[in-house]
């Protein structure tokens, strides 16, 4: 089943839903315990209603008696919320093999949506951004939500540049409810700036998970001869040498990855480096670990 999690194999499957289903079911079949928490009839607690909560879980009897809205929580029921923030800037177009970083990010997001909304009946939403907010699907558990999310992922073609600060300001309004925020990007920016932009989400009580998507060529570029590289976002051209790419670039990239992960974790958030030639199960495992830790 591991074979079906391989991104090169997934690239041959048409349709994000089928990809997500393949990934998630392949992943789940490899687990010892099912992550499907499902519903339970065992009452756990009441929770105050906040706007945006699913009205289906409101205990109307209590409302009739007390004129207050409460949600009935059951053991095993998570009723949590997942929002994926997907970077759709031009740099995500890059690839050195069959799967672009954008494709890989789509597969990861689609798998998270499938796991959340189909298997756990939780609300899931999507924000697509570059240097502006491009698309927003409000988190919901409504019928057809998965299809809306997958359609939005399909529409999310890379363009423009990345700027975390500006779009994340808008996210604050959208992320009023606490939940999981998964930020998928290649994070070509100053780690300090990225973390500073993402910290408010954490302050609102969200669990924030960084998926750092990189192509193996970006981590370990192999140049056989001097060549001119063109930046996909800025169109700037630069002549680089194999020697530089072999040593100095690698050192800088390693330092960037290390600094970003340290700063993210220092800010109470989680970080996971995803390499586009490796299977997606690492991303799902990281997400489930985070989720279980919170519940």
């Amino acid at each position: 089943m591991q074979r079906f999690l391989n991104p090169d194999v997934l690239a041959g499957i048409s349709g994000l839903e089928l990809i997500a289903k393949t990934v998630v079911q392949g992943f789940v079949s490899g687990l010892h315990r099912s992550p499907n928490f499902g519903f339970s009839q065992e009452f756990a607690e009441y929770q105050s209603y906040t706007p945006g909560d699913d009205l289906r879980y409101v205990d109307w009897n209590v409302y009739a008696r007390s004129d207050r809205l409460y949600l009935k929580r059951y053991r095993g029921e998570t009723n949590t919320l997942l929002t994926v923030l997907l970077d759709a800037s031009n740099s995500m177009k890059y690839t050195s093999h069959a799967v672009t970083k954008m494709d890989y990010a789509r597969y990861a997001a689609a798998s998270l949506f499938y796991l959340t909304s189909q298997m756990q009946r939780d609300a899931a939403g999507l924000i697509v951004f570059d240097d502006e907010l491009r698309d927003y699907i409000r988190p919901s558990t409504r019928q057809g939500q998965l299809h809306r999310l997958l359609a939005a992922l399909d529409r999310a073609e890379p363009r423009a540049r990345t700027d975390f600060a500006k779009p994340i300001l808008h996210f604050q309004d959208m992320l009023r409810r606490r939940g999981f925020v998964v930020l998928i990007s290649d994070f070509y920016d100053d780690p300090e700036k990225i973390v500073r932009a993402a910290e408010p989400m954490r302050f609102h009580g969200n669990e924030v998970l960084f998926f750092h998507v990189l192509d193996p060529q970006e981590l370990r570029p192999k140049l056989r001869e001097p060549m001119t590289l063109v930046d996909l976002e800025t169109d700037e051209a630069l002549e680089v040498t194999p020697d530089y790419a072999q040593h100095e670039y690698r050192a800088k990239m390693d330092a960037h990855v290390k600094l970003l992960s340290e700063k993210v974790r220092a800010a109470g958030m989680e970080y996971k480096l995803l390499q586009t030639d490796l299977p997606l199960d690492d991303a799902l495992r990281e997400f489930l670990t985070l989720r279980q830790g919170r519940l």
């Binding site: 177009k93 970006e218 060549m227 590289l229 976002e233 002549e239 040498t241 530089y244």
Partner: protein, 284 residues
């Protein structure tokens, strides 16, 4: 060394093509998209390292192939000094196998002398064996194989014809035209006078041919020959018919000889008489 068609050397300009393929074309820098140049810095390699030739073995083979093609079209030749060729010569062994060689041990002597020449030849010399009678028969091609040469010499048997030196000279002239190396013509013969042509010019030899004679009849024995026969064309009366023959003696003294008249294989008459001759004198 020289070139017969030096203008083909202009084709050497084509040598630039592989160099272009290996060096200049490879240097063409096509831009490659990359996600971000955030961690890159502008670096340029030194021009020497930049233009380093790659696949040197392949380049060398391509250059060598083109160079050989150009040289082949230019048709090169080598001027070898005559001194260098002097040691490389062709020995022609002409062994007389005419009727007169039946006398005594003449043919055996001729063969042994020919074998001696074969044994004494230089290491680079080639030898060709010819048999001489009324025509010239070529018994071997020019070769250095002693076995082949000995077999050819031993195969020479005496015939019934007389030698014709003009035909030998003709064959040698023909060989001399096709062979650039010096030729040594060794003639093993009893040197019969009858082998000489009417004109001496017919036995002239080319400049690159040197003639070495190996006479095998040092002491000429007495020799009697029928020089001429006079007989009527038609015979009406056999009692009156007369046949006159001229018998000549060479190196002979007075001797008694029997002369038979044979017509169509049938002995008609036998005459016996005493020839009284002086040395080297012809008697009728």
């Amino acid at each position: 060394m020289g070139l017969l068609a030096p203008w083909f050397l202009a084709g050497a300009l084509a040598l630039g093509l592989p160099v272009y393929l290996h060096m200049l074309r490879r240097h063409k820098n096509t831009p490659h998209p990359f996600s971000s140049l955030m961690f890159f810095e502008r670096r340029t390699q030194s021009s020497i390292k930049h233009r380093r030739l790659r696949y040197l073995l392949l380049l060398s083979l391509r250059l060598a192939l083109l160079l050989l093609l150009v040289l082949a079209f230019a048709n090169p030749f080598i001027n070898r000094p005559a001194a260098a060729l002097a040691g490389d010569k062709l020995l022609l062994l002409a062994i007389d196998d005419t009727f007169s060689m039946r006398a005594g041990t003449r043919l055996a002597d001729a063969r042994s002398q020919a074998r001696a020449v074969v044994d004494a030849r230089g290491p680079s010399d080639r030898v060709q064996v010819l048999a001489l009678d009324s025509t010239v028969r070529i018994l071997t091609q020019p070769t250095r194989d002693a076995g082949t040469l000995r077999a050819a010499i031993d195969s020479v048997q005496p015939g019934d014809a007389h030698a014709t030196l003009d035909s030998l000279a003709r064959v040698v002239r023909s060989i001399g035209e096709s062979v650039r190396t010096p030729i040594e013509l060794h003639l093993f013969s009893d040197m019969q006078k009858s082998s000489m042509p009417a004109s001496f010019g017919e036995i002239a030899l080319p400049a690159n041919v040197s003639l070495l004679l190996h006479p095998v009849a040092r002491d000429a024995p007495a020799n009697f020959v029928v020089e001429a026969v006079s007989a009527p064309g038609q015979v009406w009366d056999t009692k009156k018919a007369r046949v006159q023959a001229v018998i000549a003696g060479y190196h002979s003294s007075a001797a008694k000889r029997t002369v038979s008249l044979v017509v169509a294989g049938k002995t008609i008459t036998v005459a016996e008489g005493r020839l009284i001759v002086k040395p080297d004198y012809t008697h009728a």
